[in-house]
Subunit: 442 residues, 3 copies
């Protein structure tokens, strides 16, 4: 299937899941996981009860919302959760009361600078209720009395998440983490879990998978904390690279946010891949972080988790508003994000430390490795092959050599296969490190 | 007392000491030390006899000057030491003779490019006598005979210096060194010993002093050589940071000159503090050195001594002339130098290696560490606190974290205290190194 | 003898050797070696039979050419090897046949963009014959039949090379390698072996030689492979620095190409010397390589071989054409290249790790090391001497100090001798490393 077609598929899945009211807990998460399970039959879902501790945190009560609206004195719904899930502040407590315009206003959220956008507001850890609306809607609300109804339940329940482990021949793991806790928005977040699902399907279909892939679909922050608290030792012993997948569906740019260490395998691979997709990709620093890398890279956890993104959260105008929709996120944007992630995983899968087997330069001519037909660019290929051989000293991995030569890793990987077939190069394991400093399972 | 008031006090002390004829030995040094002892009652004074070896050097004879002048044929003093101490070449040998204008001229020093300035000239290690005057004065001297009188003694005596040790709970030491060997000039040198005296009074008044402070008031070069030759082993085992205090009283700029190593604690702290006072402070290199760091940082001595200055010696037009006076050096200039040094010592005193106590991000909300009132900038403080926590991995000192976040160390120190009070962060000793490579007294 | 005169001498030798038809084997190489032996009486010549393996390569058949031409129907030679050796494709197989204009054309090589240049073409490892001519010549060839004659032999024979070892008091070696396999061209290549010969004569005349010098005159690529395959262990144990000498005779620029490691002694010395000859010298990278450093620096060989050049091969329009002649290469150009190489060897010979013998700054005055007459610049010399002393901490070699102070190594070397004579500085061996990691013979 073409990458273009995959982008179309992902966009279709996003249209299915867009209306679902996700939050950090509740039926929207379960519905989303059920949909994802259809895409990835091996996906296991887990439920963790409210009150369960996770490091410094506690799983909150579950939030279920059935209906919510503001009606005017005539009973006409002027703000209606059924029209857009963003209209209700996330984790709003139940209410049913009449208020005058001024009292109501203290429960309203809008954006004067973006008067046609409904903002996204939550209040997970402080009891509160509220409604979000466009600034134009708000200004159109006349004096008079209004009825505010939130038909919701906030009560002990479950936190749900999904987990897919695709074992490879090597017990060392690559972690993909993405979140499923935002209501109807497209780049942040539906692009994350759905591109991840497409990547997971690509991994599952790999004819010979080298590493083990651990793919988790969790609510942001509390979900990663819960997951880490349950699997920390295993992850520190096995994860050699990880990516937090978010904001990966628009066409505006490519972005990179490093792990806390900044020079892990995930960082090196992400920089390499993005450089060859778009040399002008946006570079962020650890100080710009804002998603689950905050937990994965925290001191004492220290997982090598970086982010390959398109327009980064907090840094595009549509972020956390109703404008972050499926117009902004496109099949082409999703396809680009998918391709970047797949390219990164391909580098990780195929990377080795090559060593030339002969002393001095090998004579490529008598092996037919010089181009026989002189087409434009063939000289460059021979030069690249000789450069590769000159750096194949058994001390650098192929990724480092690719960066020295400024050529895509996959091009060098193909050359290494050719050279190895001629007995000119041997490869050894790239020796990826894990957070506990060892080379797990080796 | 306000820093502004401290600047006024220092300027008053400078006015008292300005007329004193200091040199590397002699009564001017003793008078200055006596004045300093009134400012710092614990100051101990030491006397080292002429002829005492100090590494490659020897303490010179002591120089006492009672009077000096050039008189014309009518007995009128045309150049008079009593008018300005700079008029006499330092360490001039005694003389009383009549010379014609031409012969006299060979003993005169003036600056054609600065015709209203009296230059500062010395001849410590070659027997000589001479007078300094403004170029206008010199040009006004007519033909005829002149009497040159230097009523002085050059004879075995003493080299004097002052030493103040303020013990802390930790035997590791911070060294402050400043010199008292220049006659009536304000930036180079009175700003040095008098800002140091003010800093010493601040240290002495600290309610809980962590480190031991060793503060020396010495004649430049020969004084530091003498001091080092007497205390080298102790200093190499105990000094974790040092500052040579000079040229710290004008308002024109801030300057930094590194230690020879360039990356010692003193260097890191000085750069940090100056960056937050004025990001455009002047950066000098070791090749620009010219004061006692030449001895403190010499091979085999290797003390971590840097310089925080205002206008650096040799790099302002008034340097080593009568224009370096108490108009050029101001209360505000002295206050700024004092504040920079105090800020540096505060960083050294309060610096630790912080480590977050929980896995994953702590939940600040339930501890009331999120701002309750949303004022402008409060979000920045929370972001800074989360950034601090993310880097508090037990591997970096707070100074390194402050530089990563580009915020003042004191702001982070306050946050660490808050976090420690909530049990979220522990601190360990920053592990400052000494020249002998150990962590003295630990 | 002045450097200028040496440049004239080298140019004279080049005029002698220019007409010789060198190739990777054959009588031209032997004639050239015979000429070189007259310049360097100690030069030993070696012969290696065709078919001898050298790592991944095999010594090819020897090529002997007696005559070659294209004649028109009237028997008039229109392209004649006797006019310029470049007219015959190197390693052309014997032929004597009549062809029409079109068939002939498939054996002709010319440069449309440089219509007055005869290109240099070889076919060492594929059987072929051909003629090179200017594009104007080619266009002037009318229709009709032509006779192509190559009176040559391609048969088992010998590969020849020259080797000169000049022993020093120290068994550690400096390698100079240059090639003798190109026909009538001046920068690439006659400048290489002939500047090397002049440098060898300078080395041989050194009154006290510290290091051992190994100087080889080889055919490019196959020659270095043969030489390495015979001496690899010895070279890896002894060579502390090496230079591949090529393209060192024109006046256009200076160029530097690093070893693969990039920071070997040879690299450091070359950069230092070139910086002080011309700060704007051209910097190339390992990716720009193209001569015998490809073999010397290959993985597992790892010799520290860099290149000091004037206009680098492949990067000047005359390269590999008849325009690379003795107008382009000049006495002044050759003298400049010679002087750069000699300066590099002088640095290697005289470099040590200096350590000041006293604590604190020494008192230069009482040793007469301060300038007694104040001439312009004398203060700079004292400052440089004090800077040198301040960095003479026994941890850096003089080359590193020279780079820190940005002064020529030879100036500091002279100062170190003066300081050592006064007992102020001691020197220890610079501890040059070899490819096998040891300090051979020490």
């Amino acid at each position: 299937m073409s990458v273009q077609q995959i982008g179309e598929d992902i966009h279709g899945w996003a249209r299915d899941l867009f209306p679902v009211c996700r939050s950090i807990t509740g039926p929207g998460v379960r519905d989303t996981l059920a949909y994802l399970t259809r895409l990835m039959p091996g996906l296991a879902t887990h439920a963790v009860p409210s009150g369960t501790p996770a490091f410094d945190w506690t799983v909150p009560d579950e939030w279920t919302v059935r209906d919510a609206y503001i009606a005017d004195a005539n009973g006409r719904r002027v703000v209606d959760f059924r029209a857009h899930t963003l209209h209700l502040v996330g984790y709003s407590e139940p209410v049913d009361c009449w208020l005058d315009r001024e009292a109501l206003d203290r429960h309203l959220y809008s954006l004067p600078d973006q008067p046609d956008a409904v903002p996204y507001v939550t209040s997970y850890y402080r009891r509160h209720w509220g409604f979000c609306l466009t600034h134009r809607q708000r200004q159109a609300l006349g004096e008079g009395r209004y009825r505010a109804v939130v038909d919701a339940t906030l009560a002990p329940g479950m936190l749900n998440y999904g987990e897919l482990v695709l074992p490879g021949s090597d017990p060392r793991e690559v972690l993909l983490s993405t979140y499923i806790c935002h209501p109807s928005m497209a780049n942040n977040e539906l692009s994350g879990p759905l591109v991840t699902a497409a990547v997971a399907r690509w991994i599952a279909a790999l004819p010979a998978r080298r590493f083990t892939y651990r793919i988790v679909f969790i609510p942001e922050t509390i979900g990663s904390l819960v997951y880490l608290s349950r699997h920390l030792d295993h992850l520190r012993r096995h994860v050699v690279a990880g990516f937090n997948v978010t904001c990966i569906g628009d066409e505006r740019t490519y972005s990179f946010l490093p792990s806390r260490a900044g020079d892990s395998l995930a960082d090196r691979v992400a920089r390499h891949v993005l450089h060859h997709i778009d040399p002008d990709y946006r570079r962020y620093t650890w100080l710009d972080r804002g998603s689950d890398e905050r937990q994965y890279c925290a001191p004492g956890i220290d997982l090598p988790v970086a982010s390959i993104m398109r327009s980064k959260y907090k840094d595009y105008p549509e972020y956390h508003t109703s404008l972050d929709d499926l117009q902004f996120v496109t099949p082409a944007g999703l396809a680009g994000g998918y391709a970047a992630l797949v390219a990164a995983l391909q580098v990780i899968e195929t990377n080795t430390v090559p060593a030339v087997s002969v002393l001095g330069e090998p004579q490529l001519g008598r092996r037919g490795l010089y181009p026989t037909v002189s087409i434009k660019g063939s000289g460059d290929a021979v030069k690249t092959m000789m450069d590769l051989i000159s750096y194949a000293d058994g001390n650098r991995d192929l990724l480092a050599i690719a960066d020295l030569l400024d050529v895509p890793h996959q091009d060098l990987h193909a050359m290494v296969q050719t050279l190895a077939a001629h007995g000119l190069v041997t490869e050894r394991d790239a020796g990826y490190r894990t957070a506990d400093g060892g080379a797990a399972g080796r």
